[in-house]
Symmetry: D2
Subunit: 310 residues, 4 copies
């Protein structure tokens, strides 16, 4: 990949995809997210040697939201092992919206179908060990600081508080999990941890680095330091394909074909095996909760650079 | 109705139905309820002149549980009017278990289908007005004290606390209602009120009096004092037919044919229009949550005394 | 009930309810039904002595559609007994639309929840015995001829053919029942029988007589001849309360309070125990499939004549 | 890949996986399939140069069943284009069993979520063009004959007839699709075509060749002849990952990680991009409908040869 040419192509793709920002809306159910300028779009690419290309609003901070589901899954798997984790959360895509509660009742046993829907991610948060919320949060934050190379990575308190105040649906999911015995830890503490994960603040550049670490099977590009076991990285990339883009994952797999995870703040983290990590920020969302322009941008890049894994 | 003969028939019916107590189990999900002797069975009949006949364990105290759904609905209707109440809770039977959450998501708008399922009763609890939980509870308690003629009617604290500690599913329902905008009041305060209603302690004799007041269209038998508007009494009896026996209501309507409301402590309150109220206590439940022997007993009485309204 | 005054009140109620015909639409999914004038409204009352009062379009023929579900249930119960019938179809209201297929899959065993939804009525049609469709149809037709006193009662061939050609959803339901083992007879023959039942042509006056026979516990008013066992009549009236008006049955029970069954051709058959049968014809339907003006009309009459059974 | 060593490893893997045949059962709902010996297990690998390795029952003929869903999708896409096809069938995994009908009603518009569940495959069969069933079948058969290199490939008439006689659930699905307007063609003809596709008879060796053509992006290994457009091959492989193993697709993606499609006759077709096609035959199925020993075998091979795409 020729860096200069790739830079130009990235800028052109961001420009082309920007036209689509008008087709979406910023997330309204978390008041703090609703304040963001819906026309923003930024992207960054992190290459195996750590080089970062970027275009557009690639330095604007935003919160991870559902992208954090990958991070907490990594920590939960490392702390508890696959057996423990997958006894409490499944591996199947659902076809339902990310905040749906139906299958918690209809599927027996009542465990969430996968860790990428809210119910599953709350169950995963419940498995993160530590002495109190702060310490449990640190387990995730310290992983992310290593992956991004930014030791100052922290939480956006306004978003965290906004989400915590308005998270009635997530509370319903958590209490249902409690009732089913899936959630062993305290409900409010677990939700508090979940909201904090969601509110970790990053930029598209940092997200590109997260993607690159996964693309490199769990190794920090420049240093070669392993921060995620290879097996865990593989599991994450698989979930990103089957469930990463909410109930548009199947469509995204066909139309774009890159393992990716989106969040309702407008971020998308993509991992092209061995080749690159991509971070996108575009807060205007489609009705399923994915960045409208971000998806379009990844589609353009996937075609331009032939990134599809299939 | 000849009193003496009726007394004998009631005693015989209780004796015959007692054989069925072995086919059920006491409610296990509320620890305090699980301690009760499952072989008990008692019944009382209250006639229009206030006469009370009884047999078996008719003086054993038990908690109203879901029977309280009728009482809180009465208060909510009196305080807010039909329009306000039925904009927030429907009038349709569901076919689903009493604690099901599925239809809260699938039905648009997301309001509970009726006030006899848990979700609907929690929504109704949210409409009971008053300054704090104590005052809101008093609105229900004072109605019940009038209806039963027992000014000392109060809450079983052990059951209340037991239920409050273990009510994860009800919390899930309440938070879902909060998310949908159906529940305007504070979730924990509303649940607290709901648990207290459920824990009001009565005997089969007192429940028979509750039934008689409804059977008399809202009037206290002896005094003739109106304590419930006629229209509200009619609405309650209708709900008792269409939704009173959980998702066995349709079957009960055909096999027995009396407006009735059951609770998981084993109580059933039945109202035979103009003729009598019946109170039953039999803690062994079938899988849908109704007193096994209690249902059988009402079936026997309905045949013996030709009580079916259809 | 004073006849003359009642006649005037009926005429006034029809006139008042006529204003509501504009709020509904004729059934469009059966092409032949879509041709009907949506502004029509007629009603007839049949009293215990056989006297018939009527107003509006009470002599306009229309097809029974779902009202026939009561008739085929009567025949099935008489031919097979309660045990056989209710092993194959339940007694519970559903909360779902009349043509819903969901609960056939979610409820175990896969039997229809009640005989008033399409799936249940198709299952019931499968239980009607006879040598070929003609003979099985005659079992229903001859009952109806007795009940209405009209020996010429027959099928509207155009509606029957129209329905048979366009009944894809009903075929889906029937095949699902076949797959579940609920339907033992040939699918196409059973559907053919079902479509013929639905296409039996009546007037509001005849429907009023049907209602009166049920109101009289199964006896022809003038002659005193018993044509339906009392127990079967009671079962029918109970289903009319809990499931007779599709998934608006609960609402109708509260707002009107009369056992009633509606059909998508715009008919409603109501049975006021011991007092009267009411036949209504108003083809403009609400979104749940009930006659808009017909429901309003029954609400007016119920208030005027105090007909509610609760 | 060293051929000799690979042959030994394949034989060892088949031997090891054979122990798992006892944990499953042959499909019972199609009588003809129920006659098969559940202890069989065979596998074949087709390499890019056309070399075929095999072990166990690799020459035993069996019917494609759901593996044919990939073949009919290829034909439908080639004949109609992506736009036409995906307007009638979605791209999302469902989390529900392959023969579930629920989402056809709950999802609006009522189109099947993907072409790998029965409803979706029936919709796809409806899009295959031709003059009559024979010609429509030939479109699929001639593709398969090219892909396998076996010009005599044909239908197992006994299985076809057995399936056609007992396919009540598929008829329910097809009629629901007809009702929703998804299926434009005649229901019985479309089902007939669908049953014939399912009954195409192959061996594990032939299935390995099918997989290799997809692995090679649509090109016949030896000749280099393109028989499937690259884009269509990519789409198929993506569906194989997200929905190929029924509602165990997500689990298979994580545990094995190879694009694969299974059928209830016990076959699995796997395509390892650029590297190999794998055909498996093991008729003992798990409860979700996948070959128990076949899945285990692929898991062993994926680890041995590092085949996972993630």
């Amino acid at each position: 990949m020729e860096i200069e040419r790739a830079s130009i192509q990235l800028a052109e793709a961001v420009k082309a995809a920007s036209d689509y920002t008008g087709q979406g809306k910023v997330a309204a159910y978390i008041p703090e997210l609703a304040k963001v300028d819906s026309r923003m779009l930024g992207a960054a690419v992190c290459l195996p040697d750590g080089t970062i290309l970027s275009a557009g609003d690639a330095d604007v901070p935003f919160t991870l939201q559902s992208i954090s589901k990958i991070c907490s899954l990594i920590v939960a798997l490392c702390q508890n092992g696959q057996k423990h984790v997958f006894e409490r959360v499944g591996k199947e895509p659902t076809g339902d919206p990310f905040n749906s509660i139906i299958k918690l009742e209809t599927i027996k046993p009542h465990k969430p179908l996968n860790p990428m829907i809210n119910a599953g991610a709350i169950a995963v948060a419940g498995m993160i060990q530590g002495n109190g919320v702060e310490q449990r949060l640190d387990a995730v934050l310290s992983l992310l600081r290593k992956m991004t190379g930014n030791p100052a990575l922290s939480i956006n308190e306004a978003v965290y508080c906004s989400e915590k105040r308005t998270a009635a649906r997530n509370r319903a999911l958590a209490w249902f999990l409690k009732d089913s015995g899936v959630l062993a830890t305290d409900v409010e503490e677990t939700l508090d941890l979940y909201f904090r994960h969601c509110a970790i603040e990053v930029t598209a550049k940092e997200v590109a680095r997260l993607g690159m670490v996964l693309a490199a099977d769990g190794v920090i590009p420049e240093t070669g330091e392993r921060v995620i076991p290879q097996e865990v990285a593989r599991i994450c990339k698989t979930f990103m394909v089957t469930c990463g883009m909410y109930n548009a994952s199947g469509e995204f797999a066909i139309d774009v074909g890159i393992p990716a995870k989106s969040g309702v703040a407008g971020g998308i983290m993509a991992a092209v095996p061995q080749r690159m990590g991509i971070g996108v920020f575009g807060p205007a969302l489609d009705e399923k909760g994915n960045s409208v322009a971000g998806v379009k941008l990844l589609e353009l890049l996937a075609k331009e650079w032939n990134l599809a894994i299939f």
